[in-house]
């Protein structure tokens, strides 16, 4: 074992990370009315941020900066001091990096590089030589150690973790990349309308910290403010930018339908095994919920459920978050029911997403389409 505080070339404790939360989350409509994308609930007991954070911690990264943009109350509430991820440390640990407009309220928002620039002191002061820049919009269970080894051995300037897709969703947008036979990235596009490539960026970028500082300075001095479009794509020709293939499950949360389908996809055993069991556990804020009670006469099949639920009705092909109550005679199909929602007796739900604390009164019937789920906003009473 290497000492924790020793700066060691190829050891993961020589890598810091920044999770970039400056994302457009408006596509999730009501679900992001009160929260940023990072704190959108996912997979029965998680928030999207849990995945990139846990991946980093499981890979041995202990210095993580969280770049904030907007609506971050629920995110801060969830993360706290980072204890659930073992990031409440005396040295290193979790750092909250406020958005640029906190410092320069009078200036209009130009792009996420502004947030990097506002927190440049944190990046400079961290004593790691390398940095991973990640995003909560793609979730997977990634071990960065092999990618980092590849980055060093191949002497890359920037390594981008990518996945080759078999199925492109028409309703989802991707950051696509094209590589040569040696995985060098020769082209990259953000949400193109045509010219798809088969490979997509998983929004994990690895580079030397000094290089990141140079790129930020260089971009901003030219009036370029976008991390992916300017800092990465803008440097494809003058830097050694290589891809590192990731072959396990990855979900791109870039549309309502993508979000809905990715949640239901977790019901496939190979998918949840890939996401929850490979490469270490996904950590989340503990809530001390009691175990779930399945009552007399319940009919629950093909579901993922968190703790604290009390289920008496019929639930099929659905994802239930913590503390959900399903009364007798209620029927729930192909739906996502978030924390503390309550479904009254004989209510009928199909293809719906209920945000936290929704109450569906008895005998109500709600139905969305398989490709366009009905979304009920937080704390609504139907």
């Amino acid at each position: 074992m290497t000492p924790i505080y020793k700066k060691g070339g190829t050891n993961m404790n020589n890598v810091m990370a920044i999770i970039n939360n400056a994302l457009d989350e408006s596509f999730l409509e009501k679900l992001t009315g009160h929260r940023s994308l990072a704190s959108v609930p996912f997979g029965a007991r998680y928030r999207l941020i849990d995945f990139p954070l846990s991946n980093l911690v499981n890979s041995g990264v202990t210095n993580v900066g969280l770049l904030l943009q907007t609506k971050y109350r629920s995110l801060m509430d969830h993360i706290g001091f980072g204890k659930a991820w073992d990031l409440d440390r005396k040295r290193n640990g979790l750092f909250i990096l406020p958005p640029a407009h906190i410092y320069q309220a009078n200036r209009a928002y130009k792009g996420d590089l502004q947030n990097f620039a506002s927190n440049i002191d944190y990046i400079k002061r961290s004593n790691q030589e390398y940095v991973i820049i990640g995003s909560p919009s793609v979730i997977a269970n990634i071990d960065y150690r092999d990618a980092f080894k590849y980055h060093i051995e191949n002497d890359n300037d920037i390594t981008i973790i990518y996945r080759e897709l078999d199925v492109f969703r028409r309703d989802t947008t991707y950051t696509v990349i094209n590589t040569d036979d040696n995985d060098r990235i020769i082209d990259m596009k953000v949400d193109p309308k045509k010219n798809f490539f088969k490979k997509i960026s998983l929004q994990r970028y690895l580079m030397k910290k000094e290089l990141l500082l140079d790129i930020i300075d260089n971009c901003i001095s030219k009036g370029e403010w976008d991390f992916v479009k300017n800092a990465i794509i803008g440097n494809l020709n003058n830097l050694k930018v290589y891809g590192y293939p990731f072959r396990s499950y990855a979900a791109v949360i870039n549309s309502i339908n993508g979000y809905y389908k990715s949640n239901l996809e977790l019901l496939k055993p190979n998918v949840w095994q890939d996401l929850f069991l490979k490469n270490g556990p996904i950590y989340t804020k503990p809530k001390d919920e009691a175990p779930t009670a399945y009552k007399n006469g319940v009919n629950a099949r093909n579901i993922l459920a968190a703790n604290g639920c009390s289920i008496e009705g019929e639930v099929k092909n659905s994802v239930l978050f913590r503390g959900v109550k399903v009364h007798p005679g209620a029927v729930i199909k192909n739906s996502i029911i978030m924390q503390k929602s309550e479904i009254g007796s004989n209510a009928h739900l199909e293809n719906v997403i209920l945000d936290k604390g929704v109450q569906i009164t008895a005998d109500k019937s709600l139905k969305g389409d398989t490709n366009l789920p009905m979304i009920i906003g937080k704390n609504t009473i139907v």
Binding site: P286, D288, A290, N307
Partner: protein
């Protein structure tokens, strides 16, 4: 150090002999309970919920699992700058050291710990009962009665009074007589093993008992309480209403789990106003497959259910394979039930593998063929080979 009004001392050294293989490797307070918890979570959570910030946990028998479980107490919000939870095993003093001889001796040997916090009152608890109780209310009662000692009591059925320490009280709830497991009880108020003492009183009696009586068993019930009684100190009974269970035997342990099931169980673990905290292992959500049949059961996270589960309690990480049937049973963490296996009226330990087509607790041995319910027990880490037949009432491990 700021003064604490009341310090809790939790007796957690018990071996729990009657739980057999369930306490082979762990102290009784560390025994898993209710799909998620260990027994000690109940008194520790009660302390936190009652606003008690300083808790001493007295350990002795096989303390390793218990020690690492308690950790710094953060799981119960007991990682405090002042006080918090402190594990107190026996230790060596100037004149040598000794094991805790009994409940009172354990407190006597930790007088320094209590003095450090300088409380007015000491709450003595045991680490192996299942109940939710507000100790603050009991303290208020203690103060309002001007009591020297308040004992938590519970009404028990008259036919069971011979199993308990019975308190005979007058109309003001003052205890006038104490009967230990009486043949002919005069009352049906049983001691729950919960005491509030004025610390300075208790301190005096503990020291006197240790110095004057070398052969003392150092026990509250046998030595300290009778002596205080003889000196006519003010004893009051505080009647507790609600669910309380001593899970001292395999049968009561099993029964307490069955009590958690049904439409509205008496002990509501899902009540968010009185949360029972635990170390909360981080596990993925529970998965019920297309073929799963689940009825009247309590199931924790990290489980995979592909078979049938009825009237049962499943801890985290349990896997019930397709075609397996679990009924009226308690399955402890990380155990796997393979396909075709059938389990009934059984307590299955941790990390057990029950191979295909085994029968556990299904058939009744002829010599056991009376009408009494027989609980089968499988100890931790056992592997039950394919097509075994473990008859009802057997203990493996």
């Amino acid at each position: 150090m700021p003064q604490e009004e009341m310090v809790a001392m939790l007796l957690a050294g018990g071996k729990g002999t009657r739980l057999g293989v369930l306490t082979k490797n762990i102290a009784k307070p560390a025994v898993p309970f209710g799909a998620e918890y260990r027994l000690i979570d109940f008194p520790l959570s009660n302390c936190t919920n009652s606003g008690i910030n300083t808790v001493g946990v007295l350990t002795q028998y096989k303390p390793l699992v218990l020690n690492s479980y308690i950790g710094n107490g953060s799981s119960w919000d007991l990682d405090r700058n002042n006080g918090g939870v402190t594990v107190l095993p026996p230790y060596v003093k100037e004149g040598g050291g000794s094991w805790y001889k009994g409940t009172a001796d354990a407190i006597y040997q930790n007088i320094e710990f209590i003095d450090l916090h300088d409380p007015e009152y000491v709450l003595v608890l045991s680490g192996d009962h299942i109940y939710k109780m507000d100790y603050e209310e009991m303290l208020n009662y203690h103060k309002s009665k001007n009591a020297d000692i308040t004992i938590g009591v519970l009404e028990v059925p008259w036919e069971e009074t011979h199993r308990f320490g019975i308190m005979n009280t007058n109309q003001e709830q003052k205890i006038i007589e104490f009967q230990e497991k009486p043949e002919n009880a005069k009352n049906n108020l049983a001691s729950m093993g919960i005491y509030i003492f004025d610390w300075q009183h208790l301190r005096k009696y503990l020291i006197a008992e240790a110095e004057e009586n070398e052969d003392s068993a150092g026990d509250f019930g046998h030595n300290i309480i009778p002596k205080m009684m003889a000196d006519q100190l003010n004893f009051f009974a505080y009647t507790f209403e609600g669910y309380w269970k001593d899970v001292g035997t395999v049968e009561s342990y099993w029964q307490a789990h069955m009590d958690l099931l049904g439409k509205s169980p008496e002990l509501d673990l899902q009540d968010r106003n009185w949360i029972i905290y635990s170390v909360n292992p981080n596990r993925p959500p529970q998965y019920l497959s297309e073929d799963a049949v689940v009825d009247n059961s309590m199931i924790n996270k990290g489980t995979q259910i592909m078979g049938t589960v009825k009237n049962s309690v499943l801890f985290y990480g349990v896997k019930v394979t397709q075609g397996a049937v679990v009924e009226d049973s308690v399955i402890l963490p990380n155990t796997r039930i393979s396909s075709g296996a059938k389990i009934k009226n059984t307590i299955v330990g941790r990390n057990v593998i029950i191979e295909k087509n085994s029968k556990v607790g299904i058939e009744i041995d002829d010599k056991n063929a009376d009408n009494e319910l027989k609980i089968t027990v499988i100890g931790d880490d056992e592997v039950i080979p394919e097509a075994s037949n473990i008859k009802a009432g057997m203990v493996v491990g």
